[in-house]
C-alpha cells in the first residue's frame, strides 16, 4: 500500500494539469500583488494626523455610549473593548491602503478559484486514467481495487491540500509584503495570526474536499468531463433551485456548508459551526466515495 501510495502521489505531482494550474495560480498571485502594490499607498503624515483626530473623537463618543446601546453589545464584550476594537485610526484613512488586517478575507476570496481548480485536478486524475486505459494496466499490477481507489484518493487529497495551503501562504506573504511596504500593518487584533492560519487550513481542506468530490464522480462515471459537468450542474443549478424553492433545506446543502466551513462558521441560519459544516461535507463526500468504491469494485474493466 505504501508503494502504491507513493506511486500515486508521484503521478499527481507529475501531472501537467497540476503543474499548469500551480503556475497559473502563482502568476495570479504575482498579478494580485502588483495590482495591490500599484493601488496601495502609505498614508501621508497629514492623512495620519487627520485620521487620528477623527478616531479619537469617535472613540470618545463611543465610550460615552453614544454609538451603541448596551443591549446591542455582543455577549461578554465590554463597551470599552467594543469601542477600541471597532474604532481604530487606520479605519479613517482613505480606502487606498492595503491593510494586512484584511488578509483572512483575501484568503477566503481566493478559495473559489482553488475549489474549482481542485475539482478539476481530482476529476482529471481519475478520468484521464480511464480515458487513456492506464487503469487497466494498473489493475493488472494491483488487482485489489479498493486499495487502488484509496491510494488515489489519499494521494490526490493530500497533494491538493498541500498545494492549496501552500498557494494561500504564498498569497499571504505577497500581500504582507505589499502591506509592509505600501500599506498598513499596524493595529492587528489579538488572534489575527491564528485566524490567518485557520483560514489557510480551512481553504486547503475545502480544496482537498473538492478534489475528492471530483475524483469520486470521475470514478463513478469513468470520465473527467462528466464529473465536472455533474459537479457544476449540481452546485450551480440544483442547489440554486433548492435554495429558491426549499430555503429550509439550505443548512444541508453542500455549497452552503462549504461556504460556512471556509468562513469559519456562522454563515448559515442557526449559526452552524465549522465542525458542523465539516461534518455535513464529510457525509456528502463519504457517501460519494462509498458509491465510487462499490462501483469500481463490481464493474468490469473493459
Amino acid at each position: 500500500m505504501k508503494a502504491l501510495l507513493l506511486v500515486e502521489t508521484r503521478r499527481v505531482i507529475a501531472r501537467r494539469l497540476v503543474k499548469g494550474l500551480v503556475i497559473l495560480a502563482l502568476a495570479g498571485i504575482a498579478l494580485a500583488g502588483i495590482i495591490a502594490a500599484a493601488t496601495s499607498h502609505r498614508p501621508s503624515p497629514d492623512v495620519v494626523a487627520a485620521a487620528e483626530r477623527q478616531a479619537a473623537d469617535n472613540l470618545r463618543e463611543c465610550l460615552a455610549g453614544h454609538s451603541v446601546a448596551p443591549q446591542d453589545l455582543p455577549p461578554n464584550v465590554t463597551l470599552d473593548e467594543f469601542c477600541r476594537e471597532n474604532i481604530r485610526t487606520e479605519f479613517y484613512y482613505s480606502s487606498n491602503q492595503l491593510n494586512i488586517r484584511d488578509l483572512p478575507n483575501w484568503i477566503q476570496g481566493a478559495s473559489f478559484i482553488l475549489f474549482v481548480g481542485a475539482l478539476v485536478v481530482g476529476a482529471s486524475f481519475v478520468g484521464a486514467e480511464w480515458h487513456a486505459g492506464t487503469m487497466t494496466t494498473l489493475l493488472t499490477w494491483e488487482p485489489r481495487r479498493l486499495r487502488v481507489l484509496a491510494a488515489k484518493a489519499v494521494a490526490c487529497v493530500a497533494v491538493v491540500f498541500l498545494l492549496a495551503a501552500g498557494l494561500e501562504v504564498v498569497l499571504s506573504l505577497a500581500l504582507a509584503l505589499v502591506a509592509k511596504t505600501r500599506g498598513i500593518t499596524s493595529g492587528l487584533p489579538s488572534g489575527w495570526f491564528r485566524s490567518v492560519v485557520g483560514t489557510i487550513a480551512r481553504v486547503g481542506a475545502a480544496a482537498a474536499a473538492a478534489s475528492a468530490l471530483g475524483l469520486a464522480l470521475a470514478m463513478i462515471g469513468r470520465n473527467a468531463a462528466a464529473a465536472m459537468g455533474v459537479s457544476f450542474g449540481y452546485l450551480a443549478i440544483v442547489e440554486g433551485l433548492i435554495r429558491g424553492l426549499k430555503p429550509q433545506w439550505q443548512p444541508w446543502l453542500f455549497g452552503d456548508n462549504l461556504n460556512a466551513f471556509i468562513l469559519g462558521g456562522g454563515s448559515l441560519p442557526g449559526g452552524r459551526s465549522v465542525g458542523g459544516a465539516a461534518l455535513v461535507l464529510g457525509v456528502y463526500l463519504g457517501v460519494l466515495l462509498f458509491v465510487a468504491a462499490v462501483s469500481f469494485r463490481v464493474r468490469d474493466v473493459n
Binding site: A3, R16, T137, T140, E142, P143, D300, V301, N302
Partner: protein, 314 residues
C-alpha cells in the same frame, strides 16, 4: 473436462461471461469455456475476433467478473486469490496503455516500484525488448509497435513465472514480429509459462508447443500443435509424376481416390498408406518424382473448426 496436467498454471472450467447491455439484452462472450494450460512452454490461444480470447484473459487478470465458472491461476482460485499470485504473473491486455507524457523508462519505473522491483531490472527489460535507445522518449511519441514492446517489457518486469499476453505482436512490423516471436520462444525455453492469444496463426504455429482454438466462447480443440493439426481436415498425400492422367487412372483402378491438385495429384490416403500408392503406380510403370504427406497448417484447421459454428445464444 479438466484433463489433469500434473502442473497446470491455468485451469478454467465452465467459464461463462455474459455482458448485459444497458438497453436490455445481452451478449454471451464465453459460453462454458474449459481450458487447461500446463506449466512451461508457449501456449497459443487462438480464435477469430469476438471468440472470447480477450474476455478470457480479462477474467484471468481480475478485470472482468465471470458470470459463472471456475478459474485457477498457479493454483490460486480466481478472482479471490488473485492478489496472492499477481506478482508472479506478467501480462498485456490488448494494446498496453501507459502514461503518454512520461518516458517509457519512467512508466516502467512507476510500475516497478509497485512490486519493489529495482531500477536495474527496468534497464534490463528495456534492453531485452530492444527499446533501450528510445527509453527516455515520451510514450506519446512511440509507434504502436514500440508501445507493444514497452508492454512486453512491463510484463517481464517482475521476472514472472507466467506470462499472459493478449495479441503481443499487434502493430509490429515484420522485423518486430520476428523479434517478438524469438523473445516468446526464448521465454518459453527458459521454463516460463507463456500464454499468448493471437489471430496470427502462422506466428503461433512457429512458437507454440500447445494450442487451444476458441470459437464463440468455447474451446473447440486443444492440445499439442501436432495433435491439433492432425485433428483437422483428413490428411492426404501429394504425388508428383510425369504422366498425371495415367497416374490418376491407375489409382482409380486400384480403388484409391485421387484428384488433380495443380501439377500434382492429391491422393486421399493417410501417410501411413503411402506404400500402396507407390506399389500401384510402380506396377503400371509410373515412377514418382515426389511423394509427401499433405501439409495442413494451423490456419486450415482453424478455419475448419471455427466455420459454421452456431452462434451462442445472446
Amino acid at each position: 473436462m479438466l484433463r489433469g496436467f500434473a502442473l497446470a498454471v491455468i485451469q478454467i472450467e465452465g467459464l461463462h461471461k455474459e455482458y448485459r447491455r444497458l438497453r436490455g439484452g445481452s451478449t454471451l462472450a464465453l459460453a462454458g469455456l474449459d481450458l487447461e494450460v500446463p506449466e512451461g512452454g508457449v501456449f497459443g490461444f487462438l480464435g477469430p475476433n469476438g471468440a472470447g480470447k480477450t474476455t478470457t484473459i480479462r477474467c484471468l487478470l481480475g478485470l472482468v467478473r465471470p458470470s459463472r465458472g471456475r478459474m485457477r491461476l498457479m493454483g490460486a482460485d480466481l478472482p479471490a486469490e488473485l492478489p496472492s499470485v499477481i506478482r508472479r504473473v506478467g501480462s498485456i491486455v490488448e494494446t498496453p496503455a501507459f502514461f503518454p507524457r512520461f518516458s517509457g523508462r519512467r512508466n516502467l519505473r512507476l510500475l516497478a516500484r509497485l512490486h519493489g522491483v529495482g531500477r536495474p531490472a527496468v534497464d534490463s527489460v528495456l534492453e531485452r525488448v530492444g527499446l533501450a535507445d528510445r527509453a527516455d522518449d515520451v510514450v506519446k511519441d512511440y509507434s504502436l509497435g514500440m508501445k507493444q514492446r514497452l508492454g512486453i517489457a512491463a510484463a517481464l518486469l517482475g521476472d514472472p513465472e507466467v506470462l499472459i499476453l493478449d495479441e503481443p505482436a499487434n502493430g509490429l512490423d515484420p522485423a518486430g514480429i520476428v523479434e517478438v516471436r524469438e523473445l516468446l520462444r526464448s521465454l518459453g525455453a527458459e521454463g516460463r509459462s507463456v500464454f499468448v492469444s493471437s489471430h496470427i496463426l502462422s506466428e503461433v504455429q512457429q512458437i507454440a508447443d500447445r494450442v487451444a482454438i476458441l470459437s464463440r466462447g468455447v474451446c473447440v480443440t486443444a492440445g499439442l500443435v501436432g495433435e491439433v493439426l492432425s485433428a483437422g481436415r483428413a490428411t492426404g498425400l501429394i504425388v508428383r509424376l510425369g504422366d498425371l492422367p495415367a497416374g490418376m487412372r491407375a489409382l482409380a483402378d486400384a480403388g484409391i481416390g485421387a484428384s488433380l491438385d495443380g501439377d500434382a495429384l492429391r491422393v486421399s490416403l493417410p501417410a501411413s498408406e503411402a506404400e500402396s500408392v507407390t506399389r500401384v503406380l510402380a506396377d503400371r510403370g509410373l515412377y514418382l518424382s515426389e511423394l509427401r504427406p499433405e501439409e495442413v497448417d494451423l490456419e486450415t484447421v482453424f478455419l475448419e473448426l471455427t466455420a459454421d459454428e452456431p452462434r451462442a445464444p445472446a
